[in-house]
């Protein structure tokens, strides 16, 4: 009696493992198919996640076949937690991932991750530097990288600018300024760091609430903000746009 109950519970545990692993395979593939992978990781690594998704399904299927044939190769590893905990944890996480869509980072996180600090602190090294003949073709992150290499704001005075990003209301700046920002990632959302440029408006920034996506056109000027000279966009037009499918910059 006791033995059969033990057998029963170990069978349940074995199946729990299989279900948890399969659920993760399903989660990875569903993120891929619904285009949500871009919210989490750099496109460079999409392939790996997709292969892993299929791999987990195969492992799950092979394990399931072993159990169906009822000769489970039952071995228990050294475990830190009681049996079943880890697979339940994996399964619960996968279900959560399937049910709740991850949200891209927004202005709150940008402030928390220090959008107002010099880039040196947010990211130890600039990655690429593209000299661009047409300043208005630079994206926001191109601007920030260019500025990182040659930080004198006056060098860019009068250049045309056209960038897209979301609005951050930085508490340190006067009401007439907002920060247009994006998150840049190199690997996954864990290392997302915010980049941004101040935008000088004709009116109060309350017309553009935080997290609104805008296309800002204007020209570059130098302003004295937070006691330092900063490259600032003098806005000519601000056009609301819809949030891009892939909100991060690379």
């Amino acid at each position: 009696m006791i033995q059969s109950r033990q057998q029963f519970s170990s069978r349940i545990l074995n199946w729990l493992d299989i279900v948890a692993i399969t659920a993760w395979g399903v989660l990875l593939l569903s993120y891929w198919l619904t285009g949500k992978l871009g919210l989490l990781i750099h496109p460079r690594y999409f392939g790996l996640s997709v292969i892993a998704g299929f791999g987990l399904l195969v492992v799950g299927a092979l394990g399931g076949r072993q159990l169906m044939r009822s000769h489970p190769v039952s071995v228990r590893h050294f475990t830190l937690f009681p049996p079943g905990w880890m697979s339940s944890l994996l399964l619960a996480t996968a279900c959560l991932g399937l049910l709740v869509t991850p949200q891209p980072f927004a202005s709150h996180t940008a402030l928390q991750r220090g959008i107002n600090e010099p880039l040196a602190l947010t990211r130890s090294q600039p990655q690429t530097f593209r000299a661009n003949a047409q300043p208005e073709a630079r994206s926001l992150i191109d601007w920030v990288r260019t500025l990182d290499v040659y930080p004198e704001p006056d060098a860019y005075a009068g250049q045309k600018v056209k960038v897209q990003g979301f609005v951050v209301h930085s508490p340190e700046m006067p009401d007439q300024y907002l920060t247009i920002s994006r998150f840049a990632i190199t690997c996954c959302a864990a290392d997302a760091y915010p980049v941004g440029l101040p935008v000088k408006l004709q009116q109060s920034r309350r017309a553009y609430p935080p997290d609104t996506w805008l296309e800002v056109e204007g020209k570059m000027v130098t302003e004295n903000l937070q006691n330092k000279r900063q490259l600032t966009i003098q806005a000519k037009s601000l056009k609301p746009i819809s949030e891009p499918k892939n909100p991060y910059a690379y």
Binding site: V73, F78, G114
Partner: protein, 338 residues
């Protein structure tokens, strides 16, 4: 609410990025366990203690295992007659010195290649040095758990007779005595049996074992990965940024914080680079290195496993030596390089 949603995104992104590497690491280590004959390997290792320590540290390349897999392998190596420098070098370096871990670290720190290089160099250096130090103890047995000590062949020559495998079996069995609720032996036993009779087992049996092994490893390591990602996400969103920065920008405090985190968060070395990455914005390079070098060598989970090989005293030596060396090397990085 904002906090919660960005914490959730961070948590999921760590998992989605890390799971492919975890799967790859588990599959490869399973393959190696089933298809490499360790005894032949041991027979070819150098005898000079320093070279042996270096060789032991480098054979991690043949066994891409996390820190949870390397303890059973190190124990088997010892029982099969590998010298102390080999076993200790392997124990400390194998989780880091292997292709999957290096690839994952490169993935995470692509724009700071010095972290990838220094991680490998420091791990090799520390593991070799500690392995070499332990070679001063000619007879390792007083430092080992009695059951392991009893299983070491007297001659220190790799055994090849059938007796030795019976000896191994009894040695492994003894460890599962009452009062030691550690049940790792079945897998290990199987792996040993398989490894020692590679020719006798049909391929299909070995593949069955591979599948079973893969499932268990994914469950255990994946579970710890989930917990580790949770810790990373909570630290990132719940602790005020000023506190993290004041801790993370100090050359000494940042290293101490990351050493502690490395010891507490028992995240698998294949994916710990992604965990470290989430701290890259706020912490010094030296402290990230400290986490990446020290974490795989010793952590809470590894400690419990190490106590199945060594007596407490030896584990304390290992722990103290590894922590001090990591601290000094990474402090040097903080003060001189970055």
């Amino acid at each position: 609410m904002n906090q919660l949603s960005s914490g959730f995104t961070l948590f999921l992104s760590l998992l989605v990025e890390a799971i492919p590497f975890l799967l790859l690491g588990v599959l490869l280590s399973g393959l190696m366990l089933l298809f490499i004959d360790e005894r032949k390997l041991i027979a070819h290792l150098p005898r000079n203690p320093l070279l042996a320590a270096l060789a032991g540290s480098s054979i991690g390349f043949l066994f891409p295992v996390c820190e949870c897999g390397n303890v059973p392998v190190a124990r088997r190596l010892l029982m099969q007659g590998a010298s102390a420098p080999v076993a200790i070098g392997f124990l400390l370096a194998a989780p880091t010195i292997n292709p999957i871990v290096i690839w994952a670290t490169w993935t995470a720190f692509r724009d700071q290649p010095e972290i990838v290089v220094l991680r490998v160099v420091f791990s090799l250096f520390i593991a070799t040095l500690i392995g070499w130090v332990f070679s001063a103890q000619a007879d390792l047995r007083p430092l080992l758990q009695p059951a392991v000590a009893a299983a070491i062949p007297q001659s220190q020559v790799p055994p090849s007779t059938p007796e030795s495998s019976r000896l191994l079996q009894s040695g492994t069995f003894l460890l599962a005595q009452p009062g030691k609720p550690i049940r790792m032996d079945t897998t290990e036993l199987q792996a040993t049996l398989v490894a020692s009779s590679t020719t006798s087992k049909p391929l299909s049996d070995r593949l069955q074992l591979l599948v079973a092994n893969t499932i268990q490893e994914i469950r255990e390591l994946g579970g710890v990965l989930v917990l580790g990602s949770l810790v990373a996400a909570v630290i990132q969103v719940a602790i005020p940024r000023e506190l993290i920065l004041s801790l993370g920008q100090g050359p000494v405090t940042s290293i101490i914080a990351m050493l502690t985190l490395g010891a507490v968060v028992s995240i698998c070395s294949t994916v710990d680079a992604f965990f470290a990455l989430s701290f890259a914005a706020a912490f010094t390079s030296g402290s990230l290195l400290a986490f990446l070098v020290f974490g795989p060598m010793i952590d809470l989970k590894g400690l419990a496993l190490m106590l199945t090989i060594f007596r407490g005293r030896a584990v304390i030596y290992l722990f103290a030596l590894a922590a001090q060396l990591t601290f000094l090397l990474t402090l040097f990085v903080n003060l001189q390089i970055s």
